[in-house]
Symmetry: D2
Subunit: 262 residues, 4 copies
């Protein structure tokens, strides 16, 4: 008995020999020359053009994650490029592979946490109580609250207040931003540690204000960082560091067992 097939369908874009439409708009006629890259990302993810306020906030979020200097993702991309300079795309891919639970992926953790604590459409919630419950839940499970604290940026991650300011100026500072700030305060109170909302926490909260599904909040960081990685690869091609890093690490890592190393 043959398997019954299911339909395969996509509503993002289609092409004919002389036409290309994306989200219901002609790519050559309506979009090229008229839409910026960041707004194109919004169009794809939301299905409509952003308002000017949405555009400002969404571009700010994406810009935040493009570049943070020599990050692990930049290192992985540079080291990969040194071995396969003919495959720039693979170097970018290698750099992206590490944007998981520890670094950029915490945007997703924050957005998921906030949506679960405060489902979209909730009215008149007791945000302080929710914040206490959320933090207590993480403590019970022995988990770290996502989006808080930063190894370098203390006592404040300077990106977070600026993002909250931009969100507020554009009408996107409501219950999710407030809840995130209350969770931060509660986490600091119960742990006694300095745990400022970091850039990924602010982004997670603002993505909730914008109504983006938590499943692709991490994606904003992923495509933003892809831009930064191309910048690092360009610098690596002109002023390389990968081989030097490799050789220094190899020398040091094996000095305790390598004959003649001392």
């Amino acid at each position: 008995m043959p398997r019954k097939t299911k339909p395969i369908r996509s509503d993002i874009a289609w092409s004919t020999p002389d036409r290309i439409e994306v989200r219901g708009r002609s790519l050559p006629d309506d979009l090229l020359g008229n839409i910026s890259l960041g707004d194109m990302a919004w169009l794809l993810l939301v299905g409509r053009m952003p308002t000017p306020q949405e555009s400002t906030v969404f571009n700010a979020i994406a810009v935040t994650l493009v570049e943070h200097g020599i990050t692990p993702s930049a290192l992985a991309a540079r080291i990969t490029y040194a071995g396969a300079p003919e495959s720039l795309q693979a170097a970018v891919a290698a750099g992206l592979c590490g944007l998981g639970s520890v670094f950029v992926g915490s945007t997703e953790g924050t957005a998921k946490m906030l949506y679960e604590a405060l489902p979209p459409g909730t009215q008149g919630a007791d945000l302080e109580k929710i914040a206490r419950d959320v933090v207590a839940g993480y403590r019970e499970r022995g988990q770290i609250v996502p989006g808080l604290g930063h190894p370098l940026h203390k006592p404040v991650d300077p990106r977070a207040p600026r993002l909250f300011r931009i969100a507020a100026d554009n009408g996107f500072s409501r219950d999710y931003v407030r809840l995130e700030q209350l969770i931060c305060a509660e986490a600091e109170r119960t742990t006694g540690k300095m745990l400022p909302v970091n850039a990924t926490g602010a982004i997670g909260a603002i993505c909730c204000e914008l109504g983006l599904p938590w499943k692709i909040v991490r994606g904003v960081g992923v495509f933003a960082r892809a831009i930064g990685l191309v910048g690092h690869i360009l610098e690596e091609s002109n002023s390389p560091m990968a081989v030097e890093i490799w050789q220094r690490v190899e020398d040091e890592a094996t000095a305790h067992i390598r004959p003649g190393a001392r």
Copy 2:
């Protein structure tokens, strides 16, 4: 004798506890809220803010490659996501890995070809002779001229004339665009085939007009497509096709040897 170490240095960005600077600008104070994602990419790659004309042309180029429906890269990302939905970043990475010599990477091939044929700063070159020589060289080596022809978009890839129009309107249609068009005409003349400049050919030529190094021209397509892939992953999470594709292909591919398949 210990190896002599070389310095490790990056000029892209730096951070201190309360500051983050990218290309000499404060990320929180100067960039967030004031720069769009596409312009941020230009800033990273070129090291200065774009002019309005550069911004329009560069954003148009990047937007062109974000989305072309169900591409191989979108398929690879969707299929990967089906197996590892907890690693969105790895699904994007998988999709990017195929942006090589056959698809998006031909932007790089075009830019390299044009820069080699017409080194930056050349004055008064005989572009028609150069075009003949370039095409003859590819024919001699049995190679395909990059950036020409498209399996679907015939007789014209509608993105190319639009991009050339945008470039011209903003003062970026000079010798490289002209040379690309002459190479196209010469290739069509000598092969007798319909080989319109495709989107990647137009982008390669315009990147030369913009002065971008050929080594990272492919990178513009890579980060642009990363945006499109996040859009496909969002759709896959709501309306999946990956498992159905897999099962159909498996059924058909092995029907000739699988007992009971008929």
Copy 3:
């Protein structure tokens, strides 16, 4: 105040101009020609040569996951190769990216579950009670017990009993294999569904018998599948299917909105 550096150290291998040692053995003199690829993997992960029994069981586990025909990982690798045939390594990488929680990664889930339920060294445990508690825990959390059930292989995944047989014949069928089978029976009893131990469940359990850390159990499937993916890429280069799959999917997926599609 400069940051205090920590030492960087690796005990896996070292090289000098005329020597290469891996896990304390000369690669050229002791290993090449004397060790098979599977045993080399054991040496790396465990730090000593396997006994003949360990070798048989470990190679069987790894061989199990090399190949299962047209899997999602094989599709992703083939589609990626079609776009970047000059980067075989990136096509393999793309195929591996999807070996996450849904497919091969469930070996890890099983091993982690078993180690947590029955910490190494436990004597005289009541395995039936543990099995009931484990299944009840998954049901309470609304999670799926890893390593059970298969969309195709019903009522039995033929790899599982064979692996359990090989493990038993070589002295590696003790409490972890027994517990896995009890968990399977309990899950079938409480759900009323047919949920046979699948290949990844058997592998997870046997990896516990072998004492492999759960953190790298998934890794055995990852390097095994890398072998299978190279086989698929070879076939793709001789007898391609990627472009045909792409075009069929694109045609069907957009037929409902594409002008002239019907």
Copy 4:
């Protein structure tokens, strides 16, 4: 007019509910417990079981590339794992992405060079003349002869003579190995540099003796290194270096512009 579909077909493996066959053999009944991982790779790539001699040589080749200490691929995998420990497969993928033209990929370059210079089946060729022509060709094109020289292993890469010895002992040292050695001698003569055949050169030549297609010679290195990367990830999870490397590099790389760095 609808596109005419082409058949999709694979001859590697098939499954039914109770059977799995790979290359015409029952995976559970014939292969598991009876074939080692390395021989399974040969079966997949060649389509038949290896002879004992082929098995020895092929396993030796694969074992050679598993591990070389702290390589760029190991670094990329470790750094990626630090950011996404929940996605071991993505860390392995990131490590593989750099096995391109500079490092492991040179096995492919060597095999391609040798097959092109000496097509399979050639009888009585003047190998010395061919070697001179090959080297002269690379010099003319300004390219580096693949498979020669090593930054560390001088004057001899100890893996190469050992591999050549194993190949000779098993009847696989004929024209391709001889030609590779002649090319090495000619390259050293014409450049005046010490350019010993390195491990990848020896592997490329021996793969030609074994009749493996050049297109997947790189693949042997890719799956072999996947094993090594899992070993590095295990060590990284127990004894991490990635974060320390990152912080050292970041500190040094930006010290020239970072306020307060000195």
